[in-house]
Amino acid sequence: MKDMATQTLLLEIKGLEKRFDLDKGFLETVKFKDGRLTRETRSVHAVNNVNLDVAKGEALCVVGESGCGKSTVARLVAGLLAPSAGEIHYEGQRIDDLSRNEMLPLRKKIQMIFQNPYASLNPRMTILQALEEPVRHHNPKFSAAEVRDKVTEVMMSVGVDPTWIKRYPHEFSGGQRQRIAIARALTVDPEFIIADEPISALDVSIQAQVLNLMLEAKESRGLTYLFITHDLSVVEHFGTRVAVLYLGTVCEVADTATLFSNPKHPYTKALLSAVPQLKDDRPNHIRLKGEIPTPINLPQGCPFESRCIFANGRCKSEKPRAIHQPDGSIVACHALEEGRLDADAPGL
């Protein structure tokens, strides 16, 4: 965050919240309790008061375990979901409440790459159709030759063989499909790309290919990324900054190097220690007690309280605020604030 002032902010997320109602329809909300009928709606609190900034040229990685709301954040930013509260600004313009037509010019700027390349391409469209469609849609005045030129240019730049164009997605392997999906997103010349676990469905040797491709595109096209992943080794390699999410709440935001050399939040520490290391013989990972609670009934205090070895009464009752640290990271933890983390704790 130190050079934030000198960089131009591209995306600002302010107080973002998303709840999904579990009980749909009137009848499901009616419950029989203590001898009388009451109406209550249970909802999943997927994202809770998330504040994030993405500067131009950055690759902000959002990490967390399943159910932590990282994909929901991606979908909210992409406009696939509408937030329950909070605002999303892109280049200073509020984008979360735009209609489809107002959003259209922004669609050229913000694109998304999905996790599962087996599902993100329409199985009934040839590669050519899939690539030409967005070009035509966003450039209605293009002639057939111009459309073709654009498609060929993108295909060459992402290593999609031009002889593939007449084939259907099922004829390709996962890595090739992900390449095609990336090409499709790039056909509209975006400047901001939301990547939702783009390599987690791929094999190790193919992951490297796709990651390299995304790095190349970042340099040659000046792209900014919001990169959602659960894989910390990818984060360390790809991200410039990292946001750690737990139960829909941001625990820690820091520059990648800072986060990996000096993690502060107890959850970040546990997460980092759990990654299986290639060269270490013995894992010395921090065991967390219990498992992630369901986001249906959120704890009143810190969401990580139930699994944290440093938790005390305050953690149970009061939500920690995000506090700027001297090294530029932002951490939401009472124990850190009170200096309780430095004391020698069991397991650390």
Partner: protein, 316 residues
């Protein structure tokens, strides 16, 4: 990149592709489907080329002689060599009449199903894609429609129209009335199936991808979701054609369908029914057998198609 495998020297033709596809393979390996297809094609081709094949034109009063009525088919004593399958009560050649009647039955069946499909697919797509209140409203409508049996709706509708327009006008436009009533009565079959597949497809990432690329709902529905929902549509279409043919035959048998001057299979069976006890069984039985065979082979083809296109069964 190893692209050799993806780069065949010659593009195979569409037919070879279909023949070699999973569907083509399972078709070749399924004798029931092959036989059904052959019989269906024979009936369909004969019906389509009825004016060329039929020795007489049953619509032309000049070619009909009442004196020729109720001749039996050729394997029964007393038959005339001119009328291979005998004649009906009005002296029409039964073979020609069946050809024309089958053509009419198939036409009504296919057109009614096209109408059903159009209504059902549109409503199902919109209900599934838009969701929310509109979905609830449309689906409750479908429930109401389904709770009345097709025949009941058709009987009321046709009886009322017959009374309103008089049987002269009604007989003239009977084909259209039948198509309309069978088409409208059965749209929920399509709407429900299409809605279910749309709900499943809508969750897939390619739909999200299309939304992120800024495509409108119409384009996403028609270009992206619909082509991926075709398998179940094909399956119900075959069964629905068979059902529509049965409905038409039933209505005609009840005297609410095709008039005797333009006989369909149903009205032919109906008109022969009066003579069944006077010994002229063939007027009813032969068209009846054709109807049963036609409906049976279509249903068998539908069963086969369901087995092939249902991914659960296929993987199981």
């Amino acid at each position: 990149m190893s692209t050799e495998s993806l780069n065949p020297t010659a593009e195979p033709s569409r037919w070879t592709k279909i023949w070699n596809s999973n569907m083509g393979y399972s078709f070749r390996k399924n004798p029931v489907a092959v036989v059904s297809m052959i019989i269906f094609l024979m009936i369909a081709v004969a019906a389509f080329f009825a004016p060329l094949i039929a020795p007489y034109d049953p619509y032309d009063p000049a070619s009909i002689d009442i004196m020729n009525s109720e001749y039996p088919p050729f394997w029964v004593d007393g038959s005339l060599p001119d009328f291979s399958l005998g004649t009906d009560d009005q002296g029409r050649d039964l073979w020609s009449t069946i050809l024309y009647g089958t053509r009419l039955s198939l036409l009504i069946g296919v057109c009614a199903v096209a109408l059903q499909a159009f209504l059902g697919i549109s409503i199902g797509l919109i209900a599934g894609y838009v969701g929310g209140r509109l979905d609830s409203l449309l689906m409750r409508l479908a429930d109401i429609q389904l709770s009345f049996s097709t025949l009941m709706v058709a009987i009321i509708f046709l009886a009322v129209t017959q009374a309103m327009f008089g049987s002269e006008t009604f007989n003239q436009y009977a084909v259209f009335f039948l198509i309309a009533v069978i088409g409208v009565a059965e749209w929920p079959q399509y709407a429900r199936t299409v809605r279910a597949t749309v709900l499943a497809e809508k969750k897939k990432e390619y739909v999200d991808s299309a939304r992120v690329l800024g495509f409108g709902p119409g384009r996403i529905m028609v270009r992206h979701i619909l082509p991926n929902s075709l398998s179940p549509i094909f399956v119900i279409s075959t069964v629905q054609v068979a059902n529509a043919i049965i409905s038409e035959a039933s209505l005609s048998f009840l005297g609410l369908g095709m008039p005797p001057s333009q006989p369909s299979l149903g009205s032919l069976i109906s008109s022969g029914f009066d003579y069944i006890f006077s010994g002229s069984w063939w007027i009813t039985v032969i068209p009846g057998v054709i109807l049963v065979v036609l409906v049976l082979v279509i249903n068998l083809l539908g069963d086969w198609m369901r087995d092939v296109l249902n991914p659960k069964l296929y993987k199981g």
